[in-house]
């Protein structure tokens, strides 16, 4: 089975994120990393391939050249090859524009299964899977916490506000996995060494036959108008445990008559 996993290069969790006041976009110049929510998607794809004993796991991403670092991390986990759409014309793409680019790559790849992570670690959106599924005209199951594939069908168990649903869909299909679906593996040394030699293709918008007017800011249908300070909140206290944290918490509770 051919499995495509959509992944994103996001600012590293240790970097203090900021929005550039000029472009009103997230400043992506600092250290980046593979979106943590995407590691579960990669892991799940690898497990399916390992269970089947054959198949291919293809990574698909859109982002700056630096995103290759994140793709190499996923290749080191065990994915077979990577495709990065890197083009100035896609910068600033919102959901409609991004889903258009990814769908174009996925159409070309024709995978049996497309896997997304739960959400973007930078945008907090959990929307790209369903948007891409609509463009590909394929069924989507989102928030999947347990996935079974047999007889050309996939069965996903997922949590909603009301309990658990079990949903079935025929392949080809799109799933977005929950971050509870698995514990992603760490790349082995051998995996890291081998990742550099795996096929890594960089595509431009022209390679995909897409028109610039449908992409980037021009192709987006949302805009950022202004940045404001958040409403004022009370002073937060943050301490490092030096062995006395439990006492400090107990004192804090006593001061507020919560003990």
């Amino acid at each position: 089975m051919k499995i495509a996993v959509c992944v994103k290069h996001v600012p590293d969790a240790t970097v203090t994120k900021r929005i550039d006041p000029g472009t009103k976009r997230l400043d992506r110049s600092g250290e980046g990393a593979l979106n943590p929510f995407d590691t579960q998607a990669v892991e799940e794809a690898l497990r399916i391939k390992e269970r089947d004993g054959d198949g291919e796991v293809v990574l698909v991403s859109m982002g700056p050249e630096r995103a290759l670092d994140s793709l190499r991390k996923a290749l080191a986990m065990g994915a077979d090859r990577a495709i990065l759409v890197s083009d100035e014309q896609v910068a600033g793409s919102d959901l409609v524009a991004t889903s258009r680019v990814l769908a174009a790559v996925l159409e070309r790849e024709g995978a049996d299964l497309v896997v997304f992570g739960q959400q973007g670690g930078d945008s907090d959106g959990a929307v790209l899977g369903a948007a891409v599924a609509d463009r590909l005209r394929r069924p989507i199951i989102s928030q999947v916490a347990e996935l079974e594939i047999a007889g050309g069908k996939l069965k996903g168990k997922r949590q909603t506000e009301f309990g658990y649903d079990v949903i079935e869909a025929p392949l080809p299909a799109v799933v977005a996995v929950s971050d509870a679906i698995n514990e992603p593996r760490y790349p082995s040394l051998k995996g890291i060494m081998g990742a550099k030699k795996k096929p890594q293709e960089t595509l431009s918008v022209g390679d995909l036959g897409l028109e610039a007017g449908n992409l980037g800011e021009a192709g987006s249908r949302t805009s950022v108008l202004a940045l404001n300070d958040p409403p004022a909140r009370g002073d937060a206290l943050k301490i490092e445990d030096d062995g006395s944290a439990a006492e400090k918490i107990a004192d804090f509770l006593a001061e507020r008559k919560l003990l």
Partner: protein, 317 residues
């Protein structure tokens, strides 16, 4: 006209969606509700009482299960056939997939995670907290159709007692939309004391490291006379029962004291507990978002701190 997607469950319109309806009605112009399902005509009539001037109803067996794609078909048709240019959603597992699919289908802008909406000479402006709520971003739409999703619990429903004009839709479904089928809907029974009424909640997340370590959380909760809660990640991993889950999926709680142990504090968790009085967070990761909204944040090893705290609470109470 603005239309609000009115999600329903077991014959009840959902509170979050009715809250969004109330907000939309405040913006001035007439607002429509949209009810999609099977055997839902009665529900449609009820939406009038919460501020809808019109209610569009699609009553079709293909809309029986709460699956997103047939709903995308119905809403796309609504935009094409009726005078509707804006659709608002209270975020949920279902509505996020519906809104996202619809954005792609209609090439329409979708802004999510909004906490407010204002009308500026007919131009809608949404307010979206970003970067762990350290920045409030004003967002807009540039296309003809506007889609927006709001954080849960953002607005309260307002009962106006009005009556809505009910308009039937006859949706046509595209081939791929009805391919997914619902095999089971297992709805969690509530078990044990409800966390919604507790004055004190001690909650555990993935940072506990193992299901066994919930005993640390349980002991502290017992010493404080409180209840135990859990995050979605650990509930989904089978560490703790669904009935104790706090967050966007799960319960919304507002205890006087909320102690978060090993919880990173993603926005999905925050929305379930932001009404708490005092929040204390214990986490070994100094960058955990939970510290942004904890009154007291402790960076350290909960395996050391929590048992010591339990002992101190027992001594001092």
């Amino acid at each position: 006209m603005i239309a609000v997607f009115l999600e329903h469950h077991e014959g009840e319109l959902q509170k979050g969606a009715l809250g969004v309806l109330a907000k939309a009605a405040q913006l001035g112009d007439e607002v429509a509700g949209v009810v999609l399902g099977s055997g839902v005509k009665d529900l449609a009539a009820r939406a009038g009482r919460f501020g809808a001037a019109k209610v569009f109803v699609a009553d079709d067996p293909a809309l029986e299960a709460p699956l997103p794609q047939p709903r995308v078909d119905a809403l796309a048709q609504l935009v094409h056939e009726q005078d509707v240019d804006t659709i608002l959603f209270a975020v949920s597992v279902l509505s996020a997939d519906v809104a996202a699919g619809l954005a792609a289908r209609l090439d329409a802008g979708l802004n999510w995670d909004l906490v407010d909406l204002a009308s500026d000479n007919g131009n809608l402006v949404g307010k979206r907290p970003a970067l762990e709520d350290t920045v409030y971003v004003d967002v807009g739409w540039t296309g003809e159709t506007r889609l927006a999703m709001f954080r849960p619990g953002t607005f309260d429903p307002v009962e106006t007692g009005g009556e809505a004009e009910v308009i039937d839709l006859s949706p046509q479904f595209v081939d791929f939309s009805t391919q997914a089928t619902m095999l089971e809907q297992a709805h969690a029974e509530s078990e044990g004391p409800s966390i919604e009424d507790a004055d004190v909640i001690v909650a555990g997340g993935r940072g506990l490291g193992s299901p066994e370590n919930f005993s640390l959380v349980e002991a502290l909760a017992k010493a404080l006379g409180g209840a135990v809660a859990a995050t979605r990640a650990v509930v989904d991993a089978g560490w703790y029962p669904y009935a104790t889950q706090v967050g966007q999926t799960g319960k919304t709680v507002s205890p006087k004291l909320y102690i978060a142990c090993g919880i990173s504090g993603a926005i999905q968790h925050k929305v379930g507990m932001q009404g708490s009085g005092v929040v204390i967070a214990i986490n070994k990761d100094p960058n955990a978002p939970i510290f942004e909204y904890a009154d007291l944040g402790v960076v350290g090893d909960l395996n050391e701190i929590v048992p010591k705290l339990t002992q101190l609470v027992e001594q001092r109470k």
